[in-house]
């Protein structure tokens, strides 16, 4: 086991004026760990994700990240350039709506290859080879490499978005409701894929969702958020099977039995 956490959030707070976005959130994320963040709409989980993924500056608190080179850096003490570089190389960001995370006007191959080109890949054949590899990994027919994402189904678009993120072998991927808006059968396939990839690639992942089924299947640990605060944290199965906080109990008990 590594001795430093991959990501360390301490007393993370984001205010919108007087309104609380998220307040006093602290946790450690270890390499290869999948952390689920659940709560209702407005619970602050997306604000938290945006802060963690360096897209939104917190009003207080600290986020430390241990880079590939072993150095632990304060995300918001980095220059914007370094932060953006991190987001394109060591991190991934999968948005709920694939249209927000993909370039819809360029081919699937270019979507996957973009991150490589952004970090200096200049060999077309290699870039294409990598694109094919990642399309196949995400169960997209490599023959569709030159098709535009708009001709893909919703589930395929979402898988393409993941492929686009994985091509630089990130160590940490942020996912915002990755299965939202997908058919149930498509959801299952995607969840299964994410599960396999996080395990096989040793990927750490922070997944924000309101779907307890998603975290049950994917995440090792869980944060339950309400009103911008973490009301309960623990092992996923422990929080779901033996919730302690009244709000967690309410959340768990409101799942419809299948």
């Amino acid at each position: 086991m590594t001795e430093t956490p991959l990501l360390q959030a301490t007393a993370l707070t984001r205010m919108y004026g007087k309104r609380v976005g998220c307040r006093d959130v602290s946790f450690d994320l270890w390499p290869g760990e999948v952390l689920g963040v659940v709560g209702e709409s407005g619970s602050g989980k997306t604000t938290l994700l945006n802060c963690l993924s360096a897209q939104l500056e917190p009003s207080g608190g600290e986020i430390l990240y241990t880079r590939r080179d072993g150095r632990q850096v304060d995300i918001f003490a980095l220059s914007e350039g370094e932060r953006r570089l991190l987001l394109r190389t060591e991190w991934g960001l999968v948005r709920q709506n694939p249209r927000d995370g993909l370039r819809m006007a360029v081919s699937a191959g270019a979507n996957v290859g973009e991150r490589l080109m952004a970090v200096g890949a200049r060999h077309y054949g290699d870039i294409r080879g990598q694109a094919r590899h990642w399309l196949t990994e995400l169960e997209i027919d490599a023959e569709r490499i030159d098709d535009l994402p708009r001709n893909f189904s919703g589930g395929m678009q979402q898988r393409l978005q993941i492929a686009r993120n994985l091509v630089t072998s990130p160590r940490l991927v942020f996912m915002d409701e990755p299965t939202g808006g997908l058919d149930v059968s498509v959801q299952a396939r995607l969840l299964d894929l994410i599960r396999r990839l996080t395990r096989d690639l040793g990927l750490a992942c922070i997944i924000v969702t309101h779907d307890l089924g998603v975290v049950r299947m994917l995440s090792h640990r869980l944060l339950v958020m309400r009103g911008g605060e973490v009301v309960e944290a623990g092992l996923t199965d422990q929080v779901l099977d033996d919730p302690q906080h009244p709000y967690s109990q309410m959340l768990v008990s409101s799942i419809l039995p299948v």
Binding site: M1, D28, W30, E33, A188, R189, L191, D192, R195, R199, R216, M217, H220, R221, G234, L235, D237, Q238, D241, D242, Q244, H245, P246, Q249, M250, S253
Partner: protein, 239 residues
């Protein structure tokens, strides 16, 4: 426990364990599940927990596995040579214990959609770092032992019968040689032949030195594997 096992280092040592459920959705009603429970299990021992329904048998197993949060007391489990208190351990430590130290057979299979049976059974081995080849071979062996026809291996267990699902569940929990095994009615919904196959697996685990804590709804299977028996009565250790 016998004099002989007391000399060996315990694998599980439970001290003063409490567990209470507070039901906030029902006006804060509390249900006591376990009260001041002490228990040790050493390697090569199989302690079978008896008691009426609601006596806290399942809760005990789940507390040891970290699935339920202990309300008080300590649950020491030997993990990589040191005793770790599951009641206070970090989630990360518990996850690590579950990867290599503790196996759990529950009554219910949490079906993961779309994943073929063989892959499900291979998973604990892969997580523990075994090669795919090795994992496939071992998974195949245990599925064969549990009489799960090979034609089912490539299918996801969602559509299997209760007994078949249960056997997949057992295969998954016992394919890796966990030093600590927690068995929550492993033989429920199995026919005679398969019950025997499971008993055989448990005996094999016992003789390789695993510490086993089990709840058996069927007395015969429990008796077949037990080295010791305890009785829970009204959330306490009887006798």
């Amino acid at each position: 426990m016998s004099a002989m096992t007391e000399q060996t280092d315990p694998m599980i040592a439970i001290q003063g364990l409490h567990k209470t459920f507070t039901l906030h959705t029902q006006n804060g009603a509390t249900i006591s599940a376990l009260q001041s429970l002490d228990l040790t299990v050493s390697g090569g021992e199989c302690v079978v927990v008896r008691g009426a329904s609601g006596a806290g048998k399942s809760s005990l197993l789940r507390c040891v596995y970290g699935n339920y949060r202990a309300g008080g007391g300590a649950i020491w489990v030997r993990h990589q040579g040191a005793m770790v208190d599951v009641a206070k351990a970090e989630p990360r430590t518990i996850l690590d214990m579950r990867r290599t130290t503790m196996g759990f057979v529950s009554q219910f299979l949490r079906v993961i959609p779309r994943i073929p049976t063989l892959d499900l059974v291979m998973e604990p081995l892969l997580t523990a770092g075994r090669s795919a080849e090795e994992a496939r071979e071992q998974a195949g062996t245990i599925l064969t032992h549990l009489n799960l026809p090979q034609r089912l291996w490539s299918l996801a267990p969602a559509t299997f019968s209760g007994g078949e699902q249960q056997r997949v569940n057992i295969a998954r929990a016992m394919v890796w040689d966990y030093p600590v095994l927690l068995l929550d009615e492993p033989t429920a919904s199995l026919d005679r032949e398969n019950r025997a196959a499971v008993v055989e697996l448990i005996l094999a685990a016992r003789s390789r030195g695993a510490a086993i804590l089990g709840v058996f709804h069927d007395r015969e299977a429990g008796d077949a594997v037990a080295t010791d028996t305890i009785e829970l009565r009204a959330n306490r250790l009887a006798a």
